[in-house]
Symmetry: C2
DNA sequence: TTCCCCTATGTAACCGCTTTCATCATTGCT
DNA sequence: AGCAATGATGAAAGCGGTTACATAGGGGAA
């Protein structure tokens, strides 16, 4: 059976209270007593009962990572692998064993909130949330720390770690313009998601700044998937074929675009230059290799984890991570 | 603030005990009282405190899915997506919101066990475990149900849901033999994992049954990844090139094998026939499409979830799911 | 009617931990 | 030497549930 704090106390010849103090470092305990208690803990292989601890008001040292993504997107986009890696690795190095939640769209927000509440985590990271942030704000107890990943938060209560997708969209578009493109198609990301809308905004901004007129017809709506990008680009090409550049909402879409272009006999980058977004390995290994605006995905994960684990006293602030333009074959002059 | 059982009791005009009984259905309660209590619960939007409940000995209704896979493998192999999908979907349809654990190899087994213990789940599914099953057996309290996925268990205490990998290996190899292959290379899976060893055994069995002599040199060790398959096959081809069939440990490896073969000028399936394992979409969309021994991945996930959720009174039994030979271009005559 | 059993519900103990409050021994100052 | 401040520790009261045990009606059999 599992030992309890009582047994540790007896073994160490002290009271439960003292054992608790030693474990949590919440009060001064003499060196001597501390040593005794620690020895007892180790000898008994004692694991505190988290339920009891949390019930009594203590922190449990458990954190959760919520992924509001279809499993399709999640598994097909290497971006997520890096984020998760960064998150888990950072957490592990701080002795935390994070738990993952998938929030499939079939479920209600309340369902998720309910699961999170019941799970009683100290801190929760949420990636890809594209609902009303209020749902979370209302449903979760105030003492649970929440950090949003990859999103520009508008909440006073929660912080976020992300990238400036507007700037990213500008970088990508500007690059194509610099390379001589004048008729750039944007295969958007998922426009129900903030990042998708922001990258589109960047695309608009770059046109304005360069004094280029933007044809609304050049904006075709994707959803971050390869299949969808291929489909919408094909539809686009049925109507016009004078494009000379494509800014795809992410690498997956960019790869889809390239495969369609190749199939249709366009030469890349001579006829059409293409750039993606995310900076995944897929872009690197694609043929031709795909230029991209790279997000520090791994760092995104680890920074979020860092914020989650920071002591409660620490004041959190929003963090914007840098983007990097990576030029490869698909957009060379 | 969150309401407690006490407040529900007051609101309903009954005692805490009765509220508890209504929630858990652990004793007979009159229709009338039951209705009152349920109304109170609904009106207050009451969510029981899981910690308190579990502390008091109740079941919490939380289940965990542990994935003992490198995130690399996990994200690159669509097999896992289906398993997770099946698991989550089944659980969701039974009002369970499962939690995922990644067990990165950096951590100690104890670390995982410790996290699991602390998390206090009612039931735990473990996929891809390739350590001593005893670790789990020793560390986890006896009242936690554990089901292993994709593994032939040898434990009296735990059940498993999986496929017969030996038979699968035989099916694949036998198929190639039927197609006329006489010099079949086996790019093994990860031999540190049971499934890898079993598929290899099937490969051996098929040779024996067919009365074919097996060249040990034809067994090249992969690790279920595409990259590794390409590497070891290239090494193999440097020495001999008279092979006429390849049984790859999984689809990922099969795809790697095909790309190497194509590059080296072999024609598929004319010169060399190839078959993979798993039945992922990757096999279907590959060019040429890859024959495979399909696992019911989705069902694997959902069956494990089903076992996890079954009432405690139910006696669990090991389940072997059927495999299916799918013949595609890569192994046609 | 009386006794017994069964149903419906309340009372209170307990799960394992944290934390407030009280106690006691020191230590430092005046 | 006397007293306050300080440090170390124990006792006990919860935290929000579950459940064993007790109690109070009601109905049927004797």
């Amino acid at each position: 059976m599992r030992y309890t704090i009582e047994e540790v106390a007896v073994k160490a010849g002290v009271s439960k209270a003292t054992v608790s103090r030693v474990m949590n470092g919440t009060a001064t305990v003499s060196r001597e007593t501390k040593t005794k208690v620690e020895a007892a803990i180790k000898k008994l292989n004692y694991e505190p009962n988290l339920n009891a601890r949390k019930l009594a008001g203590g922190k449990g040292g458990s954190i959760a990572l919520v992924l509001e993504e279809s499993t399709d997107q999640f598994f097909s986009n290497p971006f997520w692998k890096l984020v998760v890696d960064g998150f888990i690795t950072y957490a592990a190095s701080h002795n935390q064993h994070p738990v993952l939640f998938f929030h499939s769209s079939q479920e209600t927000d309340r369902g998720l909130a309910s699961a999170l509440i019941r799970g009683n985590y100290d801190a929760i990271a949420i990636f890809g949330w594209h609902h009303d942030i209020n749902v979370i704000e209302k449903l979760l107890p105030k003492d649970i720390r929440v950090v949003f990943g990859g999103r520009q938060g508008e909440s006073a209560r929660f912080t976020h770690v992300g990238v400036d997708n507007v700037v990213g969209g500008e970088m990508a578009t500007q690059h194509l313009i610099n390379q001589g493109c004048r008729n750039i198609v944007h295969i958007t990301g998922d426009l129900t998601v903030e990042s998708g809308r922001e990258r589109l905004q960047g695309y608009r901004n770059a046109h304005k700044r360069a004094g280029l007129k933007l044809k609304e017809g050049n904006i075709v709506e994707g959803d971050y998937s390869t299949a969808r990008a291929e489909k919408v680009l094909l539809e686009y090409l049925e109507k016009r074929d004078d494009l000379d550049g494509i800014f795809a909402g992410n690498d997956l879409s960019g790869i889809g675009a390239i495969s369609v272009l190749k199939e249709k006999g366009f030469s890349i980058p001579t006829d059409v230059k293409v750039i993606g977004f995310d900076g995944t390995d897929l872009a690197k290994t694609n043929s031709p290799s795909l230029s991209t605006v790279a997000q520090p995905s791994y760092d995104l994960g680890s920074e979020v984890a860092r914020q989650l684990i920071l002591p409660a006293s620490e004041k959190l602030v929003n963090v914007n991570l840098p983007l990097e333009l990576i030029v490869r074959e698909s957009s060379r002059k």
